[in-house]
Amino acid sequence: MGTINVSGKDIEVDEEGYLVNRSDWTEAVGTEMAKIDNCDLTQNHWEVINFLREYYDEYQIAPAVRVLTKAIGKKLGADKGNSKYLYELFPYGPAKQACKYAGLPKPTGCV
């Protein structure tokens, strides 16, 4: 358990950097988490992050990477719904890394 500092406020994260309280999330929190990983979030990153937040709101889980890839393809087009594109954006694994910045728990099935 640790904390990250976002605009003067300490936010609790677990040992892998995921938010402890989902309600603490703001875009600034996502940006700060990415900065810790040396990742600059672009519009393309945010598309995926926002998609994950919507998915979670609807289904109450973070999708497995296979499901994410398929759903992104349906929503944002085939040029984005493939592993290559998503792994380039999120080299630590699209579901795992993007879920972290989205303030969501690690996808079910990720060990």
Binding site: I61, A64, V65, R66
Partner: protein
């Protein structure tokens, strides 16, 4: 750490066998951990490209009933997750007719599309599986 579909080398020699898995859900969604655990196992197993079916019997039928509100018992309402199963290519959901009728429910009360089958059809379904896991 690996992503849920990664880390395992599914080449042609090892991925040839597809088994039929049936997850049998018999318990009410809250009060015990069985329903949630079953759902998590199903979601994890979905990554392995097996032939997966879910059956709902007895009080397990309440797991997929519409309009669950869990705020006052202070647990997460995970019922929306059943609607994510389709995206995981899990589309074979079965409800036992006798259990459904005994609880005054109809197909319209469920938040996912299901196939209703009689106790004896359910027995045949179970007999046709390679693996049956009961929760």
């Amino acid at each position: 750490m690996t992503e849920s579909t990664g880390g395992i080398d599914m080449d042609e020699e090892t991925s040839g066998v597809v088994k039929k898995f049936l997850y049998v859900n018999r318990k009410a969604p809250y009060g015990t951990i069985y329903a949630l655990e079953s759902l998590e196992v199903v979601l994890i197993a979905a990554a392995f490209d097996q032939d997966v079916s879910l059956a709902f019997l007895d009080d397990g039928i309440y797991q997929i009933v519409k309009g669950q509100h869990t705020k006052n018992i202070d647990v997460k309402n995970f019922s929306p997750t059943y609607r994510a199963l389709e995206g995981y290519d899990i589309e074979k959901l079965y409800v036992e007719k006798e259990s459904m009728e005994a609880r005054g429910l109809t197909e319209d009360d469920f938040l996912v599309d299901v196939k209703v089958m009689t106790k004896s059809e359910m027995a045949d379904l179970m007999a046709s599986q390679d693996v049956v896991m009961s929760f």
